[in-house]
Amino acid sequence: MRIKAQIGMVLNLDKCIGCHTCSVTCKNTWTNRPGAEYMWFNNVETKPGVGYPKRWEDESHYHGGWELNSKGKLQLKAGNKLNKIALGKIFYNPDMPELDDYYEPWTYDYQTLFGPEKKHQPVARAKSQITGEYMDLKNGPNWDDDLAGSPNTFDQDPNMQKIETDIKANFEQAFMMYLPRLCEHCLNAPCVASCPSGAMYKRDEDGIVLVDQERCRGWRFCMTGCPYKKVYFNWRTNKAEKCTFCYPRIEEGMPTVCAETCVGRIRYIGVMLYDADRVAEAAEEPDDSKLYESQLSLFLDPNDPKIIDQAYADGISDEMITAAQNSPIYRMAVKEKIAFPLHPEYRTMPMVWYVPPLSPIMNYFEGRDSIKDPEMIFPGIDEMRIPVDYLASLLTGGNRIAIKSALYKLAMMRLYMRARTSGKDFDVEKLARVDLTERSATSLYRLLAIAKYEDRFVI
C-alpha cells in the first residue's frame, strides 16, 4: 500500500440549474486570451445532447482513454508511445478533434455601429476570430442548450445510442439534465501517459494534473488520450492547456473558481486518500459495470488508525489527513454512495463525481392513486422521466442498481424530512432499507440542502 492524497470534486446534478456561471467565471479568469478563445476548461452540457466537442463520448471515433489488451492489461486506446513513434503516427494523429468539432470562435464587427450613415440601420455581424472573415454560425460550445435542435442531436448522444429504453424526442416524453464538465484529474490519467515530452504530470501532493508550459512540445497526444476531451491546444503558444483545478487558489486554501461561483451551490471539494499501488489493478477490472465499485475500493478510510499511521509514513501531512476525515467527497462517494464517476468505463479513475438527478413523473404514471396515499406525493424512481439506463450509461458503466440505490436514498430522505417538518409519523424501518438512520438522513440532508460554505469546501 502506498497512500496518496487526491483533491476531488462532487457535483450534485440534482441541484444543477444549467446556468453556466461556472463556465463564464472560469473562462474570464483563465482563458479569455488569444489562442484560448475556444477553450472552456469548464463547460456545461445539456443531456441528452452531443456536447463539446461534438460527440466527445464516442470513443469508437476519438479513441480516448484506456482499454484492456489481450492479456487484460491496460493500454491506451489510441496506442502506446512506442507504437505511435514506430508507426510514424506522431506526425499524423487521426483521432484528434478538429476545430469544427469544438467550434470556430467568433466575434462581431461592433464598430460598424459607430460608423457613417447607411441606407439601413447598421448591424454587427459575426466574424471569425481565427480568419477575420464573416461567418455563418453553425456551431458553438453550447449549441444544443436546453434540447435546442433536438431533432438533430437527440439520437446523436452516444448515451442515447447505448440505452435500451424506448425514449423518443417528443414533447410527452421530454426530459433533460445538465452536466457541467471539467478535467477529471484522474488517478489513472491517460493524458499523462500519452505525452511524449513528459510535460504532463500529476502532482504528488494533491493529484492535480498539469501541463508544464515549458516542457510541452505541442504533440497533442494528450488531447487524444483524454476521453473527456479536456486538454486543449493553444494555437498561439503551440502548447497544450487544461484545467488546473485552480491550483493557485487551492494552494491558498480557496476553492476552485467554478466551485466557489456555482450559484446552484452544487459543488463540493475535498480530499481523498487512496492506495496508489492498486490503481492499475483496479483499472484492469474486466467488467465495465464493475469499474465504479473497483474505483471505490481504492479509497481508504481516513479515520482508520492504521491508514492514518501509514499516511504519515507515506509523507501525507497532518492537515491533509484532517481534511480527508472531513471530506464531503468521501461522505458522498464512499459512505453514502450517492455520487458517481463520469464514464468509469474509460478506466481513467476520474476524480470529479456526480450525484444523479431526480426528475418529474412521466405523464402516464401521474395522478395514479396518489390522493389516497400521502407517500405517493413524490414520483417513484421507476416513474421518473430520466431513464435509469441513461444515468447508468453516464455514471456507472451500466450499473443500474447503484444509480437506483442513490435515487432511492435521495427520495427516502425527502420523505423522511417531509414527515419531520410537517409533524407526521415516519416508519424508521424505511430508512434502514436505503442504509440510512435518522441521524445519517438528517446529516445527509444538511450536507445537501443547507450546504454551508465550509461544509462544501474542505481544502
Binding site: 440534482d14 440549474i17 444549467g18 446556468c19 463564464v24 467565471t25 474570464n28 479568469t29 470562435p105 462581431y108 461592433y110 455601429l113 450613415e117 441606407k119 440601420q121 448591424v123 454587427a124 455581424r125 459575426a126 460550445p141 442548450d145 436546453d146 434540447l147 435546442a148 435542435g149 433536438s150 431533432p151 438533430n152 414533447f171 421530454a174 445538465y178 498539469l210 508550459q213 488546473t244 493557485p248 461561483t261 456555482c262 450559484v263 446552484g264 451551490r265 499501488d277 492498486r278 490503481v279 492499475a280 418529474p360 413523473i361 401521474e366 395522478g367 390522493i371 406525493i377 413524490f378 425527502r414 420523505l415 417531509r418 414527515a419 417538518t421 410537517s422 445537501l448 440542502a449 443547507i450
Partner: protein, 1222 residues
C-alpha cells in the same frame, strides 16, 4: 534521455506509475495570472432585479474579471445561505468595460449637428437656432429620418450640453414642461442613477414615465386584492415552504441566484410542481409537470379552486381555513343582488352593501364602510379595518374582530345554504365569446334606510355558486361531480380548456390544501411573467391568489404568492423618493405619468387598435358609462382624475397665471373648471396628434427603451421617431374613439430630441439624437436593493469612469448647470406651473368617488370639483435659474417629515446630521443645505433618511403606525433601533434592511422577510375598501366586464393582419403560431444580449424556438433563417427546433436587440426589428379605474399594463439572407 536517467525516479503501482523529481518553477505562470492588485465590491444595476454582491478584480489599473462575494450575513444554522449570488450574465459584465460597443464620448446625430451649427451661425442665438430647425418640416424630416442609420458624430461635452439646454429652454417656453418626458426603469437597482434624471426633470416640471405597469410586470391583481403594489417573500423564504408551485415562472432561468432555495427546499420534503406550457428549465426540478395550453392558466386555477371549495369548505369545514376567511378576507361581506340583464327572473351580483344604505344616522365616511352579518348579535355591523375607518380622525384602524363601536363580532360566512334561494347569472367567457352561467344562490332580504327591501348575499355564497359547488341535494345547476364537464369551473371543464388531466388537478389541489392544513399555510405559488404578461393577467393572478387565500397561505412564512417579474423593493424608500422627486424643494411638485397610456397615445397605437370591447363585456350587466374603444376609457380616466394625463392641457401649463392674471389657485381652478366645461380648454390626450400636444423631447437612461421595452416597436419608430420602420398595419379609421379627436394626418417623428445616456451602443442610442457616455456599474457609487433578499448593496468604482464617461448623477448635474446658466438669460423670472394630479392611493383622495358608481361631469352628472370628481389642481412656482443649485443640495423641506404608504414621521435629526456629514453650501438659495454634489453623498442621504436603513427613523415610523392602528408594533424594529447603515458599512459587508411599516412584513430577529405577516400577525389592515384581502371588486367597470369575481377569460382572438393592412404576397409554406416573448437565458432584457460571451454560449444571434411538429409542416430545419410577421412588424431570426416546445407556439426570448446579426426583411426591405417588432399593446378598461379605495392611482401602482402576449405571427423561411452593408 541521459539527464533523465540520473534524476530520481521512483516506481510504484506495479511499475505503472513513476514519481519524478522535476523542476516545477513554471507553475508560477498561472499564479501570475491569478494575481491582482485590488478587489472592489460592487454590483450590477438595472434590468436585473437580482442585486448580487460582486467582487471586481483589478490588475494594474485594468478590470480583469468578477466573482461573487460570499460574505453575506448568515440566514441561521438551519438554512442555506444567500452566497454565492450571481449568474452567467453578471459574470460576463467586465467584457463591456473595454469592449467595442462601449460609448466613450458624447455624440450628436450628424445631420442635426450640421443643421444646428448652420442655424447658430445664421441666427447668432441658440434658442432662435433651435426654433428655426424644429419648426421647419423639411429640416426636422432631414434629421429625424436619419435616426438609426448611423452617422453619429463625436462632439465635446459642452457642445452636447448646450444643445440639450437650448432644446429645454425652447420647449418650456413654447409648449411647457410636461412636453418633456423621462424614462428610466426600476430604480431599486441603482437608485441614485434613477434619481438623477428624475430629480432634474421633477425640478423642471417634466414627467417621469412609469415602467412597472408599462412592462406588464405589475400584476394589477395585487392592488386589486391587497391595495399593495407588490409585496413578496424574499427567495430564502421559499426554503420555509413545504409545497411550491412554479406557475409561469422559470425560476432557474429568471431567478438564477435564488433558484437554489427551491432546489434545496425539496430536500426537507417540499413538493415541487411546475406549471409551464413547455418543458422549461424549472420543470427539471418538479415532481409533477402540468402543461396547460398557453394563456389558459386561470381555468386550471379555477379547476383547483373548485376542488378546494368542495373538499374543505363544503364537504367539511376546515376550521383553519374558515377562521382565516372570516377575519382576513372579504368573503363574509354583504353584496346586493341586482336584476340580471340576461334574464328577467334572474339576478346578478351588484355592489357591496354599506352602512350608508342601512342607516340614516350620521356615520363618518358611511359610504366607505361595507358591512357583514354578525352571528353574535344577528345584526348587520361595520367591522373595523375598512377604508372608511382608515380616513376617520382618531380612529384605531385595525383588523381585530370588532364592530365600529368596539364590540366583538363574529362575521357570518354564508347566509345559509338552505335559506331563500334565487337564480343568479354569472358571466362566462370562452373562445366563442361571452355567455351566461345560471346558478342557485342563497340570499337574505334586508330593509334599507329608505324602507326598500333588497336581496343580499355574501361574497362567499357568490363564490360557492359561481364554482357550482353542490350545497343542496336537489341543486340541478351545480356541478354533479368533478367529472361533470358541462359544469363550468369543474376539473373536467378545465381539462377541455387547458388540456391538463382532471385527475391531476384534483390531486394537486388536494395536496396543496392538505399541505396548508398540515403546515399552517406553507403552500406557495412562485409566479411570474409566463402568466402575467397577458391581456387578462389579472384574471390569471386573481384565480391563483384565490387558491392561496382559501387555504390561508398569505401572510405565512413559506406560504402565499411569490411574484417575481420586474419587481422592485427599493428598501430605503422615503429618503430616496424625497430626493428623486425633489420633494425636498417642492413637495408634490413632480409629474408622474403612467407609461402605458403615454406610449399608447404618443406612439399612436390607439389609432390602430382593433380591439372592440363589445365582445369582452359581461352579458349580465349593463352599465351607463360604457365604451367600445379602449382609448375612450382612458379619456374618461383622465378627466375623472383616475389616471394622470401628461402632457396635460392643450395649452402651456406655464401660461395660466399670465392668462388669468393671478397666482391664486382658487381663482385659477374656477376658471379652468369653467373652461373645461365650456370646451375652451381640453386635455391634451384628447388630441394627441395635435402639434402642441405632442411630447417634444425624451431623456432615456438606464434603459434601451426602443428595443427592449418598446412594445409596438414599429409604432414607436414611425410615430415617435419618424425613422425607417416595418409597420404593416394601417390606422383603423372605421373604429374610432368617441371621446377624442381623430386626426386624419399621419404624424411622424413627434420627438424633436431624443437624449440617451448609455455605456453601450444599442438600439436606443443608435436612434437617439444626443448620446452621452455613461459610467458603468464598475465605475461609480450607487445603491441597490431588491425583494429577492434583504440586503442593501453598494456600487463602488473599481476604476474611475473610463474615457469621457460620467455617472448619471454627474451628467444630469452638468445638464442642470448649463441649463440654469442659460435660463438666467432666457427665463430669468420664476414661472408658475399649473399641475394636475390624479386621485392618489394612500391619500384621502382615495375615498373621493363613492360606491364604485361612475359620475361623469362631462355629461353633467356631477359638478367638476378638482381633487374630487376630476384631477386636483395646484400651482408650482419654478425658478429655472436655480435648478442646478437645488439639484446639488438637499432642500429645506427634508428638514421635516418623510413617509410612505400613508405613514409620516420626522427626520429633523437626520437632516442636521447630514449637514455635518455631507457639509453644506455657503450662500445662495441652498445656503446651509447638505450637499448632494457627489454620488456617494446622495447615497448617504438616502440611507440616513430612510426607515429601512436607519433604526432611529424605523422606530419613529412604527410609532406613527401604532398611533394610526392602535396595535403594538415598535418591538418589530426595537432590536435594531440604534443602527445606522452607512455606505461604508455596506461596502465592508452586506447588511440586512431594518423592518419598517413601509412594507408589509413583521418578520425580524433573523426570520425571513414574508409579506402580509404584518397584516395577519399584527392585524394591520390591508389598504383596500374592506381592509381585507378582496375576492370581490364591485366597481361599475368591473361589473361591466364581469370581473367582480375572478374568472377565466380566453386570450385575445388571433389577429395576424387586419383587412386594411398592407397586403403581403402569400407564401404557400407559411404557418400561424402564437408568438410569445418569455425572459431569456443569455440576456437580461437587451443587457448582455450583445455580449460576446453570452452570444457564444448560445447561437450568436436572433433566434426563435418552435416545436418539430410545427417545423415539419413547412420544412423548417434547425438553424434555418426565418421571417416572422404580423400587422405590427417583421423580425428575422434563426430557428431553434426542439421537442421541449409545445405545438402551436413560438418563443422569441426577450429581448433580442436588432443591432446584432439581424438581416433585412424580404417583406419590408428594411432591417428586421427586435423581438418587439411583432408586438402591440392592448389596454384594459378595468385597469384604468380610479378614485376608489385600492383602485386609485399610484405611480407604478395602478394603471393599464402594456401587455404584449396575446399575439400571433405568420412564419415563413427567409428566402435570402441580405445584410445590406451600404
Amino acid at each position: 534521455m541521459k539527464s533523465r536517467f540520473f534524476k530520481q525516479v521512483e516506481k510504484f503501482n506495479g511499475s505503472f506509475t513513476q514519481l519524478e523529481e522535476n523542476n516545477r518553477r513554471w507553475e508560477k505562470l498561472y499564479k501570475q495570472r491569478w494575481a491582482h492588485d485590488k478587489v472592489v465590491r460592487t454590483t450590477h444595476g438595472v434590468n436585473c432585479t437580482g442585486s448580487c454582491s460582486w467582487n471586481v478584480y483589478v490588475k494594474q489599473g485594468i478590470i480583469t474579471w468578477e466573482h461573487q462575494a460570499t460574505d453575506y450575513p448568515s440566514c441561521g444554522p438551519n438554512m442555506p445561505e444567500f452566497e454565492p449570488r450571481g449568474c452567467p450574465r453578471g459574470a460576463s459584465f467586465s467584457w463591456y468595460e473595454y469592449s467595442p460597443v462601449r460609448i466613450k464620448y458624447p455624440y450628436i446625430r450628424g445631420k442635426l449637428w450640421q443643421l444646428w451649427t448652420e442655424a447658430k451661425k445664421n441666427t447668432g442665438d441658440p434658442v432662435a437656432a433651435w426654433a428655426s430647425i424644429v419648426e421647419d418640416k423639411e429640416k426636422t424630416k432631414y434629421y429625424k429620418s436619419a435616426r438609426g442609420h448611423g452617422g453619429l458624430v463625436r462632439v465635446h461635452w459642452n457642445e452636447a450640453l448646450e444643445l440639450i439646454s437650448t432644446m429645454l429652454i425652447y420647449t418650456l417656453k413654447k409648449y411647457g414642461p410636461d412636453r418633456i418626458a423621462g424614462f428610466s426603469p426600476i430604480p431599486a437597482m441603482s437608485m441614485i442613477s434613477y434619481a438623477s434624471g428624475a430629480r432634474f426633470l421633477s425640478l423642471l416640471g417634466s414627467e417621469m414615465l412609469s415602467f412597472y405597469d408599462w412592462y406588464a410586470d405589475l400584476p394589477p391583481a395585487s392592488p386589486q386584492v391587497w391595495g399593495e403594489q407588490t409585496d413578496v417573500p424574499e427567495s430564502s423564504d421559499w426554503y420555509n415552504s413545504q409545497y411550491i408551485m412554479m406557475w409561469g415562472s422559470n425560476v432557474p432561468l429568471t431567478r438564477t441566484p435564488d433558484a437554489h432555495f427551491m432546489t434545496e427546499a425539496r430536500y426537507h420534503g417540499a413538493k415541487i410542481v411546475a406549471v409551464s406550457p413547455d418543458y422549461a428549465e424549472n420543470v427539471k426540478f418538479a415532481d409533477n409537470w402540468l402543461a396547460p395550453h398557453p394563456g389558459t392558466d386561470a381555468a386550471l386555477a379555477q379547476g383547483m379552486t373548485h376542488v378546494i371549495l368542495n373538499e374543505y369548505y363544503q364537504k367539511r369545514q376546515e376550521p383553519q381555513f374558515v377562521n382565516y376567511a372570516k377575519q382576513f378576507t372579504d368573503l363574509p361581506f354583504l353584496v346586493f343582488l341586482d336584476p340580471s340583464a340576461a334574464n328577467d327572473s334572474h339576478f346578478t351580483s351588484g355592489r357591496f352593501v354599506r352602512i350608508s344604505d342601512l342607516n340614516n344616522d350620521e356615520v363618518a365616511n358611511a359610504e366607505w364602510k361595507p358591512v357583514v352579518w354578525d352571528q353574535n348579535t344577528q345584526q348587520i355591523v361595520v367591522p373595523n379595518g375598512t377604508v372608511g375607518q382608515r380616513w376617520e380622525d382618531n380612529r384605531q384602524w385595525n383588523l381585530t374582530l370588532k364592530d365600529d363601536a368596539g364590540n366583538k363580532i363574529d362575521p357570518e360566512l354564508s347566509v345559509g345554504a338552505d335559506s331563500e334561494n334565487v337564480v343568479v347569472d354569472f358571466p362566462v367567457f370562452d373562445q366563442q365569446g361571452n355567455g351566461v352561467l345560471p346558478r342557485h344562490l342563497p340570499v337574505r332580504s334586508i330593509t334599507l334606510a329608505n324602507g326598500q327591501q333588497k336581496l343580499v348575499t355574501t361574497v362567499y355564497d357568490l363564490m360557492m355558486s359561481q364554482y357550482g359547488i353542490k350545497r343542496t341535494a336537489d341543486d340541478d345547476l351545480a356541478a354533479q361531480g368533478y367529472d361533470d364537464a358541462a359544469s363550468i369551473y369543474s376539473p373536467a371543464w378545465q381539462e377541455a380548456v387547458t388540456g391538463v388531466k382532471q385527475s391531476l388537478v384534483v390531486q394537486i389541489a388536494c395536496e396543496f390544501a392538505q399541505n396548508a392544513i398540515d403546515t399552517g399555510g406553507k403552500s406557495m405559488v412562485i409566479m411570474g411573467a409566463g402568466i402575467n404578461h397577458w391581456f387578462n393577467s389579472d384574471m390569471n393572478y386573481r384565480t391563483i391568489i384565490n387558491m392561496l387565500l382559501l387555504c390561508g397561505c398569505e401572510g405565512v412564512s413559506g406560504g402565499g404568492w411569490a411574484h417575481y417579474v420586474g419587481q422592485e423593493k427599493l428598501r430605503p424608500a422615503e429618503g430616496w423618493a424625497t430626493i428623486a422627486f425633489a420633494n425636498d424643494w417642492q413637495p408634490g411638485g413632480a409629474r408622474q405619468q403612467n407609461g402605458t397610456s403615454f406610449f399608447y397615445f404618443a406612439s399612436d397605437q390607439w389609432k390602430y387598435d382593433e380591439l372592440d370591447n363589445r365582445a369582452l363585456k359581461s352579458p349580465v350587466k349593463k352599465v351607463k358609462h360604457s365604451y367600445d374603444h379602449p382609448a375612450d376609457y382612458n379619456q374618461m380616466a383622465i378627466r375623472l382624475g383616475w389616471l394622470p394625463g401628461y402632457p396635460e392641457f392643450d395649452r402651456n401649463s406655464l401660461s395660466f397665471t399670465e392668462q388669468y392674471n393671478t397666482t391664486d389657485i382658487a381663482t385659477i381652478s374656477k376658471k379652468v373648471v369653467s373652461e373645461l366645461k365650456s370646451g375652451d380648454l381640453h386635455f391634451a390626450a384628447e388630441d394627441p396628434d395635435a402639434p402642441q400636444n405632442q411630447p417634444k423631447a425624451m431623456f432615456v437612461w438606464r434603459s434601451n427603451l426602443f428595443a427592449s421595452s418598446g412594445k409596438g416597436q414599429e409604432y414607436f419608430m414611425k410615430h415617435l421617431l419618424g425613422a425607417e420602420n416595418g409597420l404593416l398595419a394601417k390606422s383603423n379609421d372605421n373604429f374610432k374613439p368617441t371621446q377624442m379627436k381623430w386626426n386624419d394626418q399621419t404624424v411622424e417623428g413627434k420627438l424633436d430630441l431624443l437624449v440617451s445616456l448609455d455605456f453601450r451602443m444599442v438600439t436606443t442610442p443608435l436612434y437617439a439624437d444626443v448620446v452621452l457616455p455613461a459610467a458603468t456599474w464598475y465605475e461609480k457609487e450607487d445603491l441597490s436593493s431588491t425583494d429577492m433578499h434583504p440586503f442593501i448593496h453598494p456600487f463602488n468604482a473599481a476604476v474611475s469612469p473610463l474615457w469621457e464617461s460620467k455617472s448619471d448623477w454627474q451628467t444630469f448635474a452638468a445638464i442642470a448647470r448649463k441649463f440654469s446658466t442659460m435660463a438666467a438669460k432666457y427665463m430669468p423670472e420664476p414661472v408658475y406651473d399649473l399641475k394636475t394630479q390624479p386621485l392618489g392611493h394612500d391619500s384621502k383622495a382615495e375615498i373621493s368617488q363613492p360606491l364604485g358608481e361612475i359620475k361623469d361631469w362631462k355629461y353633467g352628472e356631477i359638478e367638476p370639483i378638482p381633487g374630487k370628481t376630476m384631477p386636483s389642481l395646484s400651482l408650482v412656482k419654478r425658478d429655472y435659474t436655480q435648478v442646478y443649485n437645488k439639484y446639488v443640495a438637499l432642500g429645506p423641506h427634508a428638514d421635516g417629515n418623510v413617509g410612505a404608504t400613508g405613514y409620516s414621521y420626522s427626520v429633523k435629526p437626520e437632516y442636521a446630521e447630514l449637514r455635518d456629514r455631507n457639509s453644506v453650501w455657503d450662500d445662495g438659495i441652498n445656503a446651509d443645505c447638505p450637499k448632494l454634489d457627489q454620488d456617494k453623498k446622495v447615497a448617504e442621504a438616502v440611507l440616513l433618511l430612510s426607515s429601512a436603513t436607519n433604526g432611529h427613523v424605523a422606530q419613529r415610523a412604527w410609532a406613527d403606525a401604532e398611533a394610526k392602528t392602535g396595535r403594538k408594533l415598535q418591538d418589530i424594529s426595537a432590536g435594531r433601533a440604534e443602527e445606522k447603515i452607512t455606505f461604508k458599512a455596506i461596502t465592508t459587508e452586506p447588511r440586512e434592511a431594518i423592518p419598517t411599516p413601509v412594507f408589509s412584513s413583521s418578520k425580524h430577529d433573523g426570520d425571513r422577510y414574508s409579506p402580509f405577516t404584518l397584516n395577519i400577525e399584527r392585524l394591520v389592515p390591508f389598504r383596500t375598501l374592506t381592509g381585507r384581502q378582496q375576492f370581490y371588486l364591485d366597481h361599475e367597470t368591473f361589473q361591466e366586464y364581469g370581473e367582480e369575481l375572478a374568472t377565466y377569460k380566453p386570450t385575445l382572438p388571433p389577429t395576424v393582419m387586419g383587412p386594411k393592412d398592407t397586403k403581403i404576397t402569400p407564401d404557400a409554406n407559411e404557418l400561424t403560431l402564437r408568438y410569445m416573448t418569455p425572459h431569456g437565458k443569455w440576456n437580461i432584457h437587451t443587457m448582455y444580449y450583445d455580449n460576446l460571451e453570452m452570444l457564444t454560449l448560445f447561437r450568436g444571434g436572433p433566434n426563435v424556438w418552435l416545436s418539430p411538429l410545427d417545423a415539419d409542416k413547412i420544412g423548417i430545419k434547425d438553424n434555418d433563417w426565418l421571417e416572422l410577421y404580423n400587422r405590427n412588424g417583421v423580425v428575422t431570426a434563426r430557428a431553434v427546433v426542439s421537442h421541449r416546445m409545445p405545438e402551436g407556439s413560438m418563443y422569441m426570448y426577450h429581448a433580442q436587440d436588432m443591432e446584432i446579426q439581424e438581416p433585412l426583411s424580404i417583406i419590408t426591405g428594411n432591417r428586421g426589428g427586435s423581438h418587439n417588432a411583432p408586438t402591440q399593446i392592448h389596454i384594459k378598461p378595468t385597469q384604468m379605474v380610479g378614485g376608489y379605495a385600492q383602485l386609485s392611482y399610484g405611480f407604478n401602482y395602478y394603471g393599464p399594463i402594456g401587455n404584449q402576449r396575446d399575439l400571433y405571427v405568420n412564419v415563413r423561411k427567409l428566402k435570402k439572407v441580405n445584410w445590406n452593408e451600404d
